[in-house]
Structures are given as structure tokens and as C-alpha cells.
């Protein structure tokens, strides 16, 4: 009996939350950065690099916790419901905006449930095809795809994935519906592309750069405004005559609604420091991406991004009529 009482007291002592965390003391303990995807993926890698640099600036560990599930909405919901004390933050990608339309029942509202810390990086997309695919450049791809719309297959990594969004945008831009072959993640999709089981796909440089550099796949275009240092021979979509097809997988950091404004500001400052860290710049470069400029690593920039991206994807997703719930 005494043991039970003692353990109850201990449990109660452990669960007492720190009262009124103002900015002065923050951070006094370890900060948890929730990544709503599994460990080892592109978003997780971005988070770990930034978390490590932020730890050095804040003088407290920022640890990454992976809470995967339902296209990132489980992890986002976890943070939306977390204590707004500045010790739980979320690093999420473009899914924050697309989930607003893809999911008709969300446990949070992307525009109301969070405080915005800032943008982290925007990873460009590349359009690639299986070895031996007939087309040789972006225009060739478009005309071939239009002529053979019944035979060409487009691979994606599942509903809501970057490759799904890119495919949706591409089909809407060239006004042609193609057979879409969904996979569970980029890994198996890339396997089937390399093996010639499917024709083409469009995915983040994080997943495609090494395959393009090795010549294992055919590459047609990158969706960024300028060519990439890592792939200097790969034209942009604008050069290839598809200027409207410009987008990337942007990543942002969020805190639960109600987090002290001074704490958010300090986080934002720390993010800006992290994005100038040489190690972060170098590792991002290896992924063929780069940190956001300082003026974008701010609450206002992220808020504007979420708003404009919800507006951009809503009609596309609704026209495709694909929902994830």
C-alpha cells in the first residue's frame, strides 16, 4: 500500500507542468521537435539537421520525435493539442496546406491551430522517366504523353505525397489524364521506375538526384526557378516551356496556438541562425536544396505561405476528386 502511495506521489511530481513559461527563461529544458513522418525520410533528415544546429544556438537539446501516420496529420494533430509552452514544436512540409483539402475531417485547422515560426527550405522537384523511355526533353515528354495517354503510366508515392501533388499539377497543366500507379512511399516507386515497370514520375531532389547523376533514370526538368548546382545540365520547367509548373516541397516550423509571442520570436531567431550554419548549408546542398533566406525564416512569411498554398492546391485537389479520408 505504501508503495502505491509513493508511486502515485512520484507520478504526480513528474507530471507537474512548468508554470507560465515566459521568454526570459526559455528554453530551460529539452525541446521536442515532432516530425509527422517516419525516421530516415527526407523531412526527417531536414528536421534533424536543423534541430542539431538549433540545439547549439539555444543551449538546450532539440530532439526529433517521429509521429508518423495518415499523411502527417496525426503528428500535426499531436502538436496542435500539445501544451503551448514552447517545448513542443512541429516541422511539417507542404502537407500542412494540402491536408486542409485532402482531409475533410481534420483534428486541427492549419490556419488557426498553430503559431508560425518560419520557413526552413523548399526542396525542388524533378521530372524523371524510366531508362529507355522514348522522350528526350520536356516538350518531347509532353507530346509523347498526350499522344499515348492511354498507355503511359505515372508513378506516385501515395495520396498526398509530393509525387502525387506534382503529378496532379502536371496533368492539369498539360490537360491530360494519365493512369496513376500509387506506391507506398518513394522507395518502391523508384524501384519499379528503375525496373521499367512504370513510365515516369516527379519527385523531390532528395530522392532523385543520385539516380539522375548516375544516369539510372532519364531526367527532363527541375521545378525550381533556377537550375541546380548539383544538376547543372537539367533545365528548369520554365526553360522547357512549362513556366507555370513551378513549385517545391516547402518545410516550416510551427508551435501550438497560444505559445508566448516572445518564445516564438526566440525560436524564429534560432531558426535563422541554424539556416546560416555551414553544416546545414552543406548537407542541404548534398540533397540539392538550400536553406530559405533569412526574411523567409519568419512567422509572417510562413503564415503567408500556408495561406497562399491552401488557396493554390484546393481547386486542383477538388478537381481531381481525390480525398485521403
Amino acid at each position: 500500500m505504501n508503495k502505491i502511495v509513493a508511486s502515485l506521489v512520484l507520478a504526480a511530481a513528474c507530471s507537474v507542468a512548468p508554470l507560465a513559461a515566459g521568454a526570459q527563461g526559455w528554453p530551460e529544458r529539452t525541446i521536442t521537435m515532432i516530425v509527422p513522418f517516419s525516421a530516415g525520410g527526407p523531412t526527417d533528415t531536414v528536421a534533424r539537421l536543423v534541430a542539431e544546429a538549433m540545439s547549439r544556438d539555444l543551449g538546450q537539446q532539440v530532439i526529433v520525435e517521429n509521429v508518423g501516420g495518415a499523411g502527417g496529420t496525426v503528428g500535426a494533430a499531436r502538436v496542435a493539442a500539445a501544451e503551448a509552452d514552447g517545448y513542443t514544436v512541429l516541422l511539417h512540409h507542404i502537407g500542412m496546406a494540402t491536408s486542409a483539402t485532402l482531409y475533410r475531417k481534420l483534428a486541427y485547422n492549419p490556419l488557426e491551430s498553430f503559431e508560425y515560426v518560419g520557413l526552413v527550405t523548399e526542396v525542388p522537384m524533378t521530372i524523371i522517366a524510366r531508362p529507355g523511355f522514348p522522350a528526350d526533353d520536356l516538350q518531347g515528354l509532353i507530346s509523347y504523353v498526350k499522344e499515348n495517354a492511354d498507355d503511359v503510366t505515372y508513378a506516385n508515392a501515395g495520396i498526398g505525397a509530393a509525387s502525387h501533388l506534382c503529378g496532379m499539377l502536371f496533368m492539369s497543366e498539360i490537360d491530360t489524364q494519365l493512369t496513376t500507379v500509387p506506391y507506398q512511399g518513394t522507395g518502391p516507386a523508384m524501384t519499379d521506375l528503375l525496373g521499367g515497370q512504370v513510365d515516369f514520375m516527379c519527385d523531390q531532389t532528395t530522392n532523385t538526384t543520385s539516380q539522375i547523376q548516375a544516369g539510372a533514370v532519364k531526367a527532363y526538368a527541375v521545378t525550381s526557378a533556377e537550375r541546380l548546382d548539383q544538376l547543372p545540365d537539367l533545365p528548369t520547367t520554365a526553360e522547357g516551356g512549362l513556366a507555370s509548373m513551378q513549385f517545391g516541397i516547402w518545410h516550416g516550423i510551427y508551435a501550438p496556438k497560444g505559445t508566448d509571442a516572445a518564445v516564438v520570436e526566440r525560436m524564429s531567431k534560432s531558426l535563422q541562425v541554424a539556416l546560416q550554419d555551414q553544416n546545414v548549408i552543406d548537407r542541404f546542398a548534398a540533397l540539392a536544396t538550400s536553406p530559405e533566406p533569412q526574411e523567409n525564416a519568419t512567422p509572417a512569411a510562413l503564415k503567408a505561405k500556408v495561406e497562399s498554398e491552401i488557396a493554390r492546391w484546393k481547386p486542383l485537389i477538388e478537381a481531381a476528386g481525390v480525398y485521403a479520408d
Binding site: S38, A39, G40, G41, D44, T45, R48, L49, E52, I63, V64, E65, N66, V67, G68, G69, A70, T73, V74, A77, L102, K105, A107, D150, T153, G158, I159, T179, V181, P182, Y183, Q184, G187, P188, M190, T191, D192, L194, G195, G196, Q197, V198, T206, T209, S210, Q211, Q213, A214, A216, D282, R283, A286, L287, V322, Y323, A324, D325
Partner: protein, 501 residues
């Protein structure tokens, strides 16, 4: 020849003192997390990712690889001792390994698992060094049609897993297939059997299902009659296999290694299939199939060799193509990216010291593991002498912590509880959990590949018989089906004749 020079380079990296030290650390950690129920290599590697930032790429990958194959060694320990498989592959080991333990042959089962794994690990490392690029290229010929046919073959063979009624085994496979349907449909996003709970949208957690249906159910069964259990496992005879044991395990180890090495190369489920398949093969080839499920040493030797060989060769797609074959490989790719190395076809040319260093370290690691594990057997077996009223709460606590740590998802714990109760009910009804688990693993893959193959073929089912690999696999399934059904058909006919007489 290049190979000698390459292996020389690999050894020079792997045998550096600090790399050896981290290799040992990885193997030790892997063994520990393999032994602790629920906590698997995926969670451990995820937790250790931040630490690898401070190490050089070869060292950190050598350590992470050690955790992975170390866990394959350790995972069989709990499967054998307390019927608690921590990994899908050791679920098969639990069938006969636990029965051996109940007969006081726990030490022999553990030694068999360790020695079989060592042999398989060594052979698979040679295969990895010699044939990685051509095997990876061959694996690319496996499209969805081929995978579907492979799954059919796996399911048909699963009936052989049962040691009781074929009807009950088939029913269990179907129940497993149905549980595999829970979650969002990959192709339409439509939620199936999720009851509006977003946490269920990503399928039931495999480890929670396996630990619940095997481990928790076994604990409940043991608690029925406390005195029985103590008598049963305290009688530990000898720890080391006899000459007769060695004779019986030799061929199954070789066959398990061959099967595991081949299937391990296939990204997505190959290694899981290997341990189930090798068990079925041994049971079919055995002169005494009735011993399977009651403590046959072949039933431990073959799947343990297969899963370790498969674990080793599953590095092939990752190292040569940059494609993850399973969640652990995805983490390894993450670890490489954090180090600034982007995995892909160029790794072998651009970072030869990394590629060959990892391969060479596997030799060192496998040797360390067998040296580490054999002396531990006595210790593990003594664990069974701990009074059950202390042991079972500890097992439950570790299992719960381990399962929660995978996704920090409370629903995984509910899954554990529900499947624990279900597993107990099944035991009472005389149904076996292994076919259910196989159905649960293969069901979603079967559906995924069937539908994808049909999408790509524009709805033409002929694709399964016009593609040669797929057609061969389907033909094999038919043969297996005939072989399984014929004896019972013949027996039926004989019975009929007897009655007529």
C-alpha cells in the same frame, strides 16, 4: 582481381580499432534490443541517429548495421524462451523454439539459432561481396505481377505451417488477411475498418499484433495454472547440441541460408517470406513432419538461418541502388544523408571505402555475435528460473514500452491488448496463431500488388501468366497445392473404401 583489392580496402576500414569498437557496440546493442520484447532495431536506430552526426560515415553505418543484424540474433532469444517474437522473422522461430524450451531444450534451441545465424551471416556476406550488382539488377525484374505470384506461393505454402487441422489453418490465414485490410486504402484513400480513428489509418502495427497474439496470449495461458509452468521449464537438460542435433540441423541451415539469401534481395517483404518459406520447406522435406510444432530442431535452424541471411542480403538494394528494402534500411539511408552521402548507384564508385567497409565489417560482426551469444546462453536459460510472478509483469512492461516507442501511438497498445485477448481465445479453441500472422503480413501485399499489376496492365489478368517469372511462381503454387492436398484426398478415398467393405 578487383574483388581481392576491394575486400582488402574493406578490411582495412573495418579492422581499424575504432571501427571494430563501434561494430562491437552495435552488435551488443542489437542483441540487447533484440532480446527486449517490443523494442526493435528500427526504434533503436532512430534513437541513435543524432549520435551518428559526430562519427564519420563508415563508422556510424558499421555501428547501425551491427544493430540491425545483432537484433536478428537477439530477437530469437525471447521467441524461444518466452514465445515473444520481437520481429516478424522470429515469429516462425517461436513455433518450434518455444516448444523446445518447454521440453527443457532451451539451451540447444538458442545454440542452434546462434550457430545457424552465424553460418548464414557468413555465407550471405560472401554473396553480398560477389554478386551485389547483378542480384540487384535481377531484383528489378520483379514487378507487381511477380510479387503477386510470389505472395500466392507464400500463402499456399502457409497451410504447411499448421500442424493441426488444415481447415483451421486456412481459416486463420483468412482472418489474418482480413486484419491486414485495416487502414486507408492505398489506391483511393478510403478508410477501411478504421471506425473514424485516424491512428488506425496506417494499418495495425505488426509488432503489436505479433507480441499480443504470441507473447501476451502465452502469458495468459501460463497464468491459468501457475504450478504447471514452473515444473515445465526449470528442467533444463544440456545447453549444447549433441552430435545427433548437429546432424539434423546441417541441411536445414544450408537450405535456409540459400532461400534467405535469394528472397532477402527482393525489396519489400522478401526477408519476411524467407523464414516462413524455409519452415514450410523443411516440414515438407522432413521424414518426421509430425514433430514440427512440437519442438523440431529443424524448425529453429532453417528459419533462423533464412532470416539472418535475408537480413544481410537486404543491404544489396540499399547499397547498390539506394532503395530501402525495409524500414531499417530507410533509416540507414537517412543516416547516410545526414552524413552528406546520398545513397544511390554511385556509392560503390564514389565511396568505395564505405561500401566495402560495411561488407567487411559484417564478417567481423557475425563473428563477434557468435562469440557474444554462445556464452550468454547459460545466462538466458537461467532467466527462466526467475519466479513467474516477477517475470510476467516485467515482460508485459517491456513489451508495452517497446511497442509504444515505435510510433508514440497509444492505439498500438490497444492493439497489443486486443490481440493478446484474441490470441488467448484462439489457443483455447485450438487454432494456431502463426498462419494468422502470415495472412496479416501477406494480405496487404497481395492486394497491393494484385491491384497495381492490374492497373498497369489496364485490367488484363493475363499479365500474371504471360510474364515468365510470374507464370513459374504460379505453376509452383499449383504444384504445392496438389502436394498438400493429395495425401488427404487419398486418405479420404481410402476411408471411403474401408466403409464400403
Amino acid at each position: 582481381m578487383d574483388l581481392v583489392a576491394n575486400l582488402g580496402l574493406g578490411l582495412s576500414v573495418a579492422l581499424q580499432p575504432h571501427n571494430l569498437a563501434f561494430c562491437f557496440l552495435g552488435c551488443l546493442l542489437g542483441t540487447l534490443v533484440g532480446v527486449l520484447p517490443g523494442i526493435g532495431p528500427t526504434a533503436t536506430i532512430a534513437m541513435l541517429l543524432p549520435i551518428t552526426l559526430g562519427l564519420d560515415p563508415s563508422t556510424s553505418l558499421i555501428m547501425l548495421a551491427g544493430i540491425y543484424y545483432g537484433a536478428q540474433y537477439g530477437g530469437s532469444t525471447t521467441a524461444i524462451l518466452i514465445n515473444l517474437p520481437g520481429e516478424s522473422s522470429s515469429a516462425v522461430t517461436a513455433i518450434d523454439g518455444y516448444q523446445m524450451a518447454r521440453r527443457g531444450r532451451a539451451g540447444i534451441a538458442l545454440a542452434t539459432a546462434a550457430l545457424g545465424s552465424f553460418f548464414a551471416g557468413t555465407v550471405a556476406t560472401v554473396i553480398l561481396a560477389l554478386f551485389a550488382p547483378p542480384l540487384a539488377a535481377a531484383a528489378l525484374n520483379f514487378g507487381s505481377a511477380e510479387y503477386f505470384s510470389l505472395m500466392v506461393l507464400g500463402l499456399v505454402s502457409a497451410v504447411a505451417l499448421a500442424h493441426g487441422s488444415v481447415l483451421k489453418a486456412t481459416a486463420m490465414i483468412v482472418v489474418g488477411l482480413l486484419f491486414g485490410l485495416v487502414g486507408a486504402d492505398l489506391y483511393s484513400g478510403a478508410p477501411r475498418f478504421t471506425f473514424g480513428i485516424p491512428e488506425l489509418a496506417d494499418e495495425l502495427n505488426f509488432v503489436a499484433v505479433a507480441v499480443g497474439i504470441f507473447g501476451i496470449a502465452e502469458i495468459l495461458r501460463n497464468l491459468e495454472n501457475e504450478t504447471d509452468r514452473d515444473v515445465m521449464v526449470k528442467k533444463v537438460t544440456n545447453l549444447w547440441p549433441t552430435r545427433e542435433d548437429f546432424r539434423r540441423m546441417a541441411a536445414p541451415v544450408v537450405r535456409g541460408t540459400a532461400l534467405g539469401s535469394l528472397l532477402g534481395v527482393l525489396p519489400g517483404g522478401g526477408a519476411i517470406l524467407a523464414s516462413f518459406a524455409s519452415y514450410s520447406v523443411e516440414k515438407k522435406l522432413s521424414k518426421t513432419p509430425e514433430e514440427f510444432g512440437k519442438g523440431a530442431i529443424e524448425g529453429v535452424a532453417a528459419p533462423e538461418s533464412a532470416n539472418n541471411a535475408g537480413a544481410q542480403t537486404s543491404f544489396i538494394p540499399m547499397l547498390t541502388l539506394g532503395i530501402p528494402a525495409n524500414p531499417v534500411m530507410a533509416l540507414m539511408i537517412g543516416a547516410m544523408i545526414i552524413q552528406g552521402i546520398v545513397p544511390g548507384p554511385n556509392v560503390v564508385n564514389q565511396n568505395p571505402e564505405l561500401f566495402w567497409g560495411i561488407i567487411a565489417s559484417m564478417w567481423a560482426g557475425n563473428l563477434m555475435l557468435v562469440l557474444l551469444n554462445l556464452p550468454l546462453i547459460g545466462l538466458w536459460v537461467r532467466l527462466l528460473t526467475i519466479p513467474y510472478y516477477l517475470l510476467f509483469p516485467a515482460i508485459m512492461a517491456f513489451a508495452a514500452i517497446g511497442i509504444y516507442s515505435i510510433n508514440s501511438n497509444p492505439y498500438d497498445l490497444y492493439t497489443l491488448a486486443v490481440f493478446g485477448a484474441l490470441g488467448y481465445a484462439l489457443v483455447r479453441f485450438g487454432c494456431e496463431p502463426a498462419p494468422l500472422l502470415l495472412g496479416f503480413i501477406l494480405g496487404p501485399m497481395l492486394e497491393e500488388h494484385l491491384r497495381r499489376a492490374m492497373i498497369i496492365s489496364r485490367g488484363d489478368p493475363m499479365v500474371f501468366v504471360t510474364r515468365p517469372i510470374s507464370a513459374t511462381l504460379l505453376a509452383l503454387s499449383v504444384i504445392v497445392l496438389v502436394v498438400v492436398l493429395l495425401p488427404s484426398v487419398r486418405r479420404k478415398r481410402e476411408e471411403v473404401f474401408v466403409e464400403e467393405d
